[in-house]
Symmetry: C2
Subunit: 402 residues, 2 copies
């Protein structure tokens, strides 16, 4: 039961909220700079989390806290039925401790590692809370604002995974926004699932000449890679695999004691990912077995260490959150489209919670590089913030006094 978008955009409270976004845009930009300059390396988001928690408290959110995994949460109560929707942005960056995160401003351009991914998202949440308060916007559902940990790389979505499966909010969330990225028109409604492994083959090693005939882990690795190259994966749902980092051996005149490869398996669909996983596992087992059989002496031992698992999932196009977001984007002049990616929304989607990932506006580039930049030119920036706020309000439901 989605409200007509014009009911929201025409409502005086919502108009007052967007006026607040405009009048405080400079403060929003300052907050991007401030938060960007607090380092938040993978698995070390605490300092930024503390600062973010203080801001949640200052904004008057309720039940503000730092959960067991490190997420910062704060509730804005609705007037309705106790339903809860989540609006999240991630605290962590991909940059290691010691990275220079000083923001350089050139006109409306801000340059710094992490400035767009996802510090603009964090600041956007604060701007939304401020705007909703200033406009006196009342929603039906409660809105839980979240600064979450562990979105990037080896973080493996642990923040949102904990939030939705173990923390106090588990089982209570009805819809989930992650505000991540810039361009709002391309919403992510399909979660690309992934499985990552370090596959190692170990053998006894030995002198290359004297011990010739001993099982060589490199040949087991070769057989696995050759098998992978020949795998047939579906184009729809898009399913991919890659051998990426590899290594082994210590000396050119020695049969290596180990050969290993890191692999990355992905799919837009959980079943296809599972099928690919089983195929690769079978290839690895056969490779170890066959090299052991081929050798005159020595055995190859296989180890598969999982280094990442992000579930696949999809939010149906007729879900309220998707309908509301499409309508909000259209209302603010965007042409919405849907795409697949791996974001914090993977977790809710895999749990059947309608979810999507939405950009907060502005432009930029070079995310995950030291040259990362965003442009906060006001009109473009505000158009994105307004659309995102409308999408959130429409998903939560604008409380109607009558």
């Amino acid at each position: 039961m989605t409200q007509d978008m014009t009911e929201i955009t025409a409502a005086p409270a919502f108009q007052a909220a967007t006026a607040e976004l405009r009048s405080t845009h400079d403060a929003f930009v300052d907050e991007i700079v401030e938060l960007t300059q607090i380092p938040a390396p993978p698995f070390a988001e605490e300092v930024r989390a503390k600062a973010y928690e203080a801001k949640f408290r200052a904004l008057g959110l309720e039940e503000v806290g730092n959960d067991a995994i490190g997420n910062v949460t704060g509730l804005r109560r609705g007037r309705g039925n106790g339903r809860t929707i989540v609006v999240a942005a991630h605290l962590d960056t991909v940059f290691p401790a010691g990275t220079d995160v000083t923001v350089r401003r050139e006109g409306t351009v801000l340059r710094a590692p992490g400035v767009g991914d996802d510090t603009r998202g964090l600041a956007a949440l604060l701007a939304f809370v401020r705007a909703l308060g200033a406009g006196g916007v009342e929603t039906e559902a409660d809105i839980l604002f979240v600064g979450d940990v562990g979105e990037e790389g080896k973080g493996d979505l642990r923040g949102v995974r904990h939030l939705l499966t173990e923390g106090p909010w588990a089982g209570k969330v009805e819809a989930f926004f992650t505000i991540d990225g810039l361009e709002p028109s391309e919403i992510v409604t399909t979660a690309v699932g992934s499985l990552r492994y370090r596959i190692g083959f170990a053998g006894p090693g030995g002198h290359s000449f004297a011990a010739f005939g001993t099982a060589n882990p490199a040949y087991a690795l070769g057989q696995l890679l050759t098998g992978m190259a020949a795998l047939d994966v579906p184009k729809t749902p898009r399913t991919t695999y890659s051998a990426s980092v590899m290594g082994g051996g210590t000396s050119i005149n020695a049969i290596p004691e180990e050969a290993w490869v890191e692999i990355d398996l992905r799919s837009e669909e959980a079943g296809a990912l599972q099928a690919l996983d089983a195929q690769v596992r079978a290839l690895a087992e056969a490779a170890a077995r066959d090299e052991t059989a081929r050798a005159e002496t020595g055995e190859i031992a296989l180890t598969m260490q999982r280094s990442g698992a992000r579930p696949a999932g999809t939010t149906p196009d007729d879900a309220r959150i998707v309908q509301a977001t499409r309508a909000a984007l259209t209302a603010f002049g965007f042409t919405p489209s849907a795409r697949a990616a791996s974001t914090d929304a993977n977790i809710p989607m895999s749990l059947g919670i309608p979810a999507l990932c939405l950009g907060s506006g502005g432009t930029g580039g070079r995310a995950h590089s030291l040259d990362e930049w965003i442009d906060v030119e006001e009109e473009t920036s505000l158009r994105g913030l307004n659309a995102a706020l409308a999408a959130i309000v429409a998903t939560a439901g604008l409380w109607a006094r009558d």
Copy 2:
């Protein structure tokens, strides 16, 4: 025309020489310690070479010098026809600069990196020169004593290669001893040839999900390794191959831009080594071609960098040097046998110069490790020195006054 071994061992001059070996054995041991404690890392043999050159001069050798590649040479003239035989030991060790090369003495045991391989050999050459001088032994052929560089690993036999193909002695050497190792009974008359490569496959790389279908160097590497595992190589002449050190890739979510492997090919016979080389090269070329064909986009480029080439070869059992050495070993109570290895003798053998590698006696172990040790217990040590000296004199020919 080999002299009867008893003509040599019974000659008063030779007996005086072996008496000198015995009476100066303590000095010989001290010289092992002294030389061991002068570091001679790969490609940095200069300091030890300088010290060795000074010893050659002090012993009265003629034409003492340090050639263009770093070998130390010194001539002991014969009385005969101007024929020249070489007696060499290698200056270099496998140990990098900074390795603690302090010798620890425990009774007759000496412990230090490089003490046996090949510092005992270097000291043996000095003992031989001293003994020949003290005994007044006159040989038919000139004997060129050589402390050579680059025997180990990446040194790739460059010292002896230069000596016999480019230096002033090129084309003038009739037989070649390398005094390397301890146990004298197992002489090396077959040179195991080797070819070493770094084989690299390069492609454009890309994001593991977004760029799926791009040529992946890891799969080309896999095909090469799988092909190598299936190669059929002869048992006689013993021919072997090994994939050893490998690597590639930088990030688990990226298709690697490179995958590489170092390989070691060996054979006792030059033709078999050449055939194996051609097979591996064909496999590598096919692997690059097939992955390029399999991929939707991107090309795999192959590079094969040769990092080592040691020629194969054999000294026939009826060569004077082999006959003389077998007779000398037998005369001193050893039971001679022949084996295959990769030593400085590879170079002369590949050039058709009769050559062999002979141990200088004593016992020991753990060569190429920091725990390397030798035992210089006098009787065992002298028996080896005596036999080696007899082999050298018999190969050079004991000059008969009559």
